[in-house]
Symmetry: C2
Subunit: 480 residues, 2 copies
């Protein structure tokens, strides 16, 4: 049994706090391959729940899951030169099998655009064959130089959706639909409020006509891109010759989209909700929603009986409950539940059994309530209400932080000051790609998006950087 | 829209039949990496259902899902030399990234025993930390020379369970429990009857003390190993130094198990239930359980309305239904449903709407029933009963074939004859590993298992091969 280590407070060193809480919370372990991590049951359980719930939303939109090979032959990736260039320095390359050199190299997929490209080419002949709305939940590899658990790892898990359509309107609509799914899912399940918008030309996916994004805000003020949805136009379909005969029997290139979220979401979850005691997992996505903790059960058997009775009732009501009947002391058990981020814990001691009551403790507020168990159905409702409140309060607290962290600036000096203090800047901006590079180099901030809805009223109509008139309002922030 | 191609009859060329039906049934496509396949929505949908249902059974036994890295550093795999030797010729090896040679080679996992070994070593200190009952659903690579879709592909999907325990009894029990889960799952969901038994020393997993197996029988009489569960004793825990302090504060090596099933199960499903019209998917695992087919809907709108009404009622009753409202002719639609193996189809034409009826057609027997729709609840019950019957009948037909395919032999000549005619041999056998090799070379048959229950009465007590007295009854068959 590992000992719990001291957690560095968030306001002392946020980065250190992050690694402390994921270690203490048993979320991951380092593997023997540098830059890769082991997803332990708690973090994989969250990812499994994300997969399950998001997949339901996808399927309601007609998405079908498929599985394409891990390896991309060199010749295939070379068909889309820009794409290859973009990923080249990060490509893990298989050159031999059983000690013997292969005649062609294979890349481990950093993403599967090219594989889908070739697959679609063979599947599509007529407008009747379209749309193909496919998705896969897979591992991908990018040999990153600097890594950070969940946020940037050489191997990560994600879903990548790839679609082709026989008309532009449908493809564009699907690009928007997927962003909406991400926004709703992040809100509903992960309790993550986001700023939705379109990426600038500089920040969009290189193969896309446009890229939509949901940007979340961490407790240190930094942004984290939660998911992106790309309208690819005919860029990939031309490169891969994905064409169809339309109703007039003319040959036309198909219209594509791609969209994805990854295990980075676990990092977003931790850095949005966690506090100095550890992580906090929103109830709707938590593998364990309620810890049922037996206090001094070794001294009185009735405690174990009562814990079992309550746990069974919770499980029957589809609440994910787990009993802690170890022989550890009450303080350890409470800390253990907190550090693993279980949203609610129920403590039952010998006195509570006598009084026919339990103690409910919320992980987020640490608020304690003594609750009588007169009617089990009533008690279950109390628990469900608590879980609901926790879910909503986590979201609202995060939304409040997000909404109060925007600031408008009218000069580059004001911009620098705002970014240095951890704010997100919202301001008129019409600078070039090169301007974005300079700003990023000098301040660490990048354009996050051109928001669809402005969270604050913008007064200026002059670019803070070039001083030219513009109506384009852009959000800037430092980002993970 | 691809044209349906002619299917070679099973009794003409079973191997050709197999590739014909998976092609026509839209189960897979060949990818650009030789020996790898693309899982199209139908086959991946079946695998997704297998994952979902099997995972529920695992979790009820305390299994927790994790995710370990794809790549194994060469130094780690060398810790278990036998293991490395066994897989070496099949190891896809990453030697460079972005064109630059790496200082150490990495192997793409052919299985993850070594990664779990190192992980467990770091997790386990005291008897209190045990058991760890972990599983992962992942892709693995083995660079096979000859491949066959689903049955033997260079990349495949599987679940691999790995556990460590603080005592032998618990580990042995878990090895048996997992075999039971596989047997029950194969029966209940895939309608696959199996012969359960223990592998001989020759056929067991090289790192195991013993290997348990479930062996299914294909329609051509060949065996297919459906799943295995290995008791590893202290073999891997000694190699990886996974030790714990027991209650007497003595250091002891942990006791391990591992167990798995793979996407080979899709091959088993196809070759057990399919017929000359195509594949047949058992209802409990079918992504689409009922095709609702509109006949001449373009001529009468009421047909589409009625189809929608029925499909909605089916979906509400948690029956996975799909409407075919394409403008194809009735014959094509029926053949299309059959070729994709949908267990039940409902045909609705203009006359049926008038008569307030539909036609139900079973995929397995092709039996047609006209069913009146007086009460929707009653109708749903009819559909549920049909689906149940299909599930049971598929299982019973397969069980009947299995049970009638065993034969006892008393000499090697009889053995050769039985194997050549596609039978499974059950007979006393006490031959050596070398004897098993000779028999396999000469007849193509290998030992499948030492069955726990004998499906036929065995009369002899002399080894058919060595002529020595023995009570060990062994099953032999040609296998995929």
């Amino acid at each position: 049994m590992k000992k719990l280590e001291k957690i560095t407070p968030q306001n002392v060193d946020f980065a250190k706090w992050y690694t402390d809480v994921i270690k203490n919370g048993d979320l991951m372990a380092y593997g023997s391959t540098k830059g890769s991590i082991i997803f332990k049951p708690l973090s994989f359980g969250i990812w499994d729940n994300i997969r399950f719930e998001l997949d339901k939303k996808f399927k309601a939109k007609g998405v079908q899951n498929v599985y394409l090979p891990l390896l991309i032959p060199e010749s295939l990736l070379q068909k889309e030169k820009d794409h290859l260039q973009g990923f080249n320095p990060e490509l893990a390359t298989v050159t031999e099998v059983g000690g013997k050199k292969l005649s062609e190299k294979y890349f481990i997929r950093p993403t599967s655009e090219t594989l889908f490209g070739e697959f679609f080419k063979n599947e599509v002949e007529s407008y009747n064959d379209l749309p193909l709305i496919y998705n896969q939940w897979v591992n991908v590899l990018r040999w990153e130089k600097t890594t950070n658990p969940f946020l940037r790892t050489r191997e990560f898990l994600w879903q990548e959706g790839h679609t082709v359509h026989n008309n532009k309107e449908e493809a564009v609509q699907l690009t928007w639909d997927m962003l909406e799914i991400y926004r709703d899912f992040l809100k509903e399940y992960l309790a993550l409020p986001v700023l939705c918008g379109q990426k600038t030309e500089h920040e969009k996916f290189s193969g896309a006509d446009f890229t939509l994004t949901v940007e979340a805000m961490m407790k240190d003020g930094k942004a984290l891109q939660g998911g992106t949805s790309h309208y690819l136009g005919q860029n990939f379909t031309k490169a891969f010759d994905i064409s169809f005969k339309n109703k007039n029997n003319e040959t036309e290139f198909a219209y594509g989209t791609s969209w994805g979220v990854s295990t980075r979401l676990l990092g977003a979850l931790i850095m949005t909700h966690g506090d100095d005691r550890g992580i906090i997992i929103p109830p709707k996505i938590a593998p364990t929603q309620v810890d049922v903790i037996e206090l001094f059960a070794n001294k009185e058997e009735k405690v174990a009986q009562q814990a079992k009775l309550i746990s069974d009732a919770l499980l029957n009501a589809n609440i994910r409950a787990k009993i802690d009947n170890s022989d550890k002391n009450p303080g350890f058990k409470a800390a253990n539940s907190e550090i693993h981020g279980t949203p609610l814990r129920i403590e039952i001691g010998p006195k509570d059994v006598q009084e026919n009551q339990v103690i409910l403790v919320r992980r987020d507020t640490l608020e304690k309530n003594i609750v009588k168990i007169n009617d089990m159905k009533e008690f279950i409702d109390v628990v469900l209400n608590k879980l609901n409140s926790i879910q909503n309060d986590l979201y609202n607290a995060a939304l409040d932080r997000l909404n109060h962290n925007f600031v408008e600036v009218s000069s580059y000096d004001e911009f620098k000051e705002a970014i240095a203090s951890g704010k997100w800047v919202l301001a008129p901006f019409e600078g070039s790609n090169e301007d974005e590079d300079v700003i990023k180099n000098e301040t660490g901030a990048s354009t996050r998006c051109i928001p669809f809805k402005l969270p604050i009223e913008i007064k200026n109509d002059t670019c803070f950087y070039t001083k030219k008139k513009t109506k384009r309002i852009v959000a800037f922030a430092k980002a993970y």
